[in-house]
Amino acid sequence: MKSSIKSNISDKKFCYLFKSYILTFFSSLLISMVSFSSVSFAQGNSIAGTDANWSSYGGNLASWRYSELDEINKNNVDKLVPAWIFHTDDYRDGLTSTPLVIDGVMYFSTPSNWVYALDAVSGKELWKYTYQKRPDFIKPGSSGAFIQSRGIAIHNNLIFMGTVDHALVAIDKESGQEVWKVFVDDSRQCGCNILSAPLVVKDMVIVGQNGGDGAFRGYLTAFDTNTGRFRWRFHTIPGVNEPGVESWLGDSWKYGGGAPWMTGSYDEELNLLYWGTGNAAGDFYSGNRVPQDRPDEFGINLYTASIVALNADTGDLVWHYQEVPRDVWDFDSAYEVVLMDREVNGAKRKILAHMNKSGLVFVLDRVNGEFLGTFSVPEVRTWITDVGPQGQLLGRKEPIPGEPVNICPTAIGAKSFNQMAYSPQTGLLYTPTLEFCADITAVEQEPEEGIFYASGGFVNQLPEGRRSFAHLDAWDPVTGERKWSIPSQYALMASILTTKGGLVFTGDPEGWFLAFDDSDGSLLWSFQTGAGHRGSSISYSANRATETPNQYIATPVGWQDSITGGMIEALFDDANFRKGSAIVAFALASPGKD
């Protein structure tokens, strides 16, 4: 198996990955669990992964990014070849999205809010939708100029996409024509925009937004899928006379951030939506948003940096868990919420696992929000010294006004918005982790609606004494044990895909697309795709010439060189983080059949 790896990869690349593999057994022993109750491993999820279709952003509504397909597996992955490559004509800022596949057609969005439909077997373009933005939609001095599109949603005959001028559009799946459009907010006022994929639940399409690093109050909004009509809105920060507003000083709740800027999950049986919320604003200074008599443990600046569980029909809050009370590090908790059913203390429970920017993974009972445990993923950590038995943040190292303080992880996070994956087959979470620090300087700042409200700034730094600055890990979410770890030289900022074939896929900034053994992390296959990876790979099946559908692995390529991607690239003089904008689809070579 190893010889086939070497034939596909440069010697330099092979050496560092091979050494990493050897190191993994030692490093896994060195990681300390922060806190965990007595739990044991068992499988038995009632939730299924994806099969022929990849129909939502996280694969399934539990955000697993796991495919039940196993035609491509450990035994034949080294025979993967490119089936087709499709180049978009949108070179604005790489390609960060997750493609969706329904019945042999692939749909995906690009940073300019264009949507493409491709034949998923041939890569041939079927149609292209070009969103018409409002003129002057960017509020000067806001974060609304950050232009991306991380994904779309599909329901019946409609495709849904949030836009950079803060609208939600529905597009006909067959024709590519716009069917309805609603402005969720006024980007010129709020300084906000929608970069994340919506989530479809029942007959509703639900969407959050970016803008929480500005003076803005985040919310989720649900619209009718057929008509676009408003259904409900949940503000992530309580308003006047609502429970939780007392956790804010004065009227600081109006500008407190908490934007739910990624995509949530849904449990059909419980009818609960789970969504992570962004950090409190201003980001790095809390003096003007925290009541002085508030204890420094739980329930500060609610419901920022939290997981909220909402009744899907009404948007009413059922429970919440705040992971970073009084956040001063820009440690959003907006990332994916992974749902699973696992045995804990001898009883099967519905749990969730959720990593926030700090790299802490919280494991909760998703019925009631009960804290079950947490573990810390990054190897370099200075922002806290420990976590208490109930998830309290201990030994906080905080930014100081007017003076740079070196803190790890950086405000970019121990993980960016790229997502981890969960395999019910191994019971493991596969996580892409960054190891960067930052000199953070806090500044007391007056909020102005929609304007950047970071209350400081930061300069990223490479932690001393390291030769690699990212790693792909496998974690047991129930015990908090790291099973294996594979270092990567620069950064891992693409999502993870795992499959029933026993494989874990991801890509790196230099363009390598990689397949690992899900049980021990050994590298089984790699391919240089020509451009850096910042999006999310998927798996699907579709008919080729044979009657039996074939499995494909598809990945977006094209490095995002603005904001987080650009910040990391700037740290490495010798980096060659390749630009581009394409989808590369792989399948097993089958000469004679096609």
């Binding site: 974060s143 309805w180 459009k181 609603v182 740079p404 490479l462 010798d574």
Partner: protein
């Protein structure tokens, strides 16, 4: 070796920062304050002009004209916004002076009276008038995202460069609340699509299709229907402007009128 390169790269920057910190000019000190608050924020530039989310600004050999142009008008199609409309002119000048100092220009030749015009840069007129008192209170109500939320006026009206232009531009402001209540929105009809009947504001109607705003609930939904077979029309009275005004009290409506009268030509 990588760490060494990083140190070498940053040394000139620290030197320049030290110069800036010791400089006595009030403009420069103010410029550094404005820079920290408006430029060195989170994912934008770094403190002291260092690299962060946006490029390094220190020791780049920028000249005065370039600094004034970019800080004022931004860089099109990038995250760099222009600040000519968001910063007071003194602060704009101060932050230009500060960025110039980071590039070794310690006494930049910005004209204090009209720095942008002197550089041949056209300054767009601010879209918002400077208001105070009741007109300002009226504006805050018009755009009130906190109390009124999606029921605020700007959900359907664009004025002074903000708001969603669902309705036609406001041209004639009523003189009293009674007159405001009598306003009839033209082109609102009832449309039935299959069995779904809704009040609609027609934008475009051709033989091939129709485009309209569904006004059933706020915010309005722009619908595009290419097949007219299942669409029927009739005169509509179910939606009236006076009903959506109920989000505002009598006192608030007075303030809204005063605001509109002060900004609509």
């Amino acid at each position: 070796m990588k760490k060494l390169k990083w140190l070498i790269l940053t040394l000139p920057v620290f030197t320049l920062c030290a110069q800036a910190a010791n400089y006595e000019s009030p403009d420069l000190r103010r410029g550094e304050e404005v820079y920290k608050a408006s430029c060195a924020t989170s994912y934008c530039h770094g403190v002291g002009g260092m690299t962060a989310g946006a490029p390094r600004l220190a020791a780049r050999d920028f000249d005065v004209a370039y600094i004034a142009q970019v800080i004022s008008n931004g860089v099109p199609d990038t995250t760099m916004a222009g600040f000519v409309n968001t910063l007071e002119s003194n602060d704009l000048l101060a932050v230009m002076t500060y960025v110039a100092s980071l590039n070794g220009i310690m006494n930049p030749d910005f004209s204090p009276t009209d720095p942008l015009a002197s550089l041949g840069i056209s300054v767009p007129n601010p879209k918002q008038k400077i208001l105070s008192g009741t007109p300002l209170e009226g504006r805050e109500l018009f755009f009130d995202a906190y109390e009124k939320g999606i029921k605020r006026c700007s959900t359907c009206h664009e004025i002074e460069g903000m708001g969603i232009p669902v309705a036609a531009p406001i041209q004639n402001v009523p003189t009293s609340i009674n007159d405001l209540r009598k306003l009839i929105t033209p082109q609102v009809v009832e449309i039935s699509v299959l069995n779904d009947t809704m009040p609609a504001l027609i934008l475009k109607r051709t033989a091939e299709g129709i485009q309209f705003y569904d006004l059933t609930v706020a915010p309005p939904v722009l619908r595009t229907i290419s097949e007219l077979t299942n669409v029927t029309f009739k005169e509509g009275k179910s939606w009236q402007h006076v009903n959506v005004m109920q989000a505002y009290s009598e006192n608030e409506l007075e303030k809204l009128l005063i605001y509109l009268q002060s900004v609509v030509e």
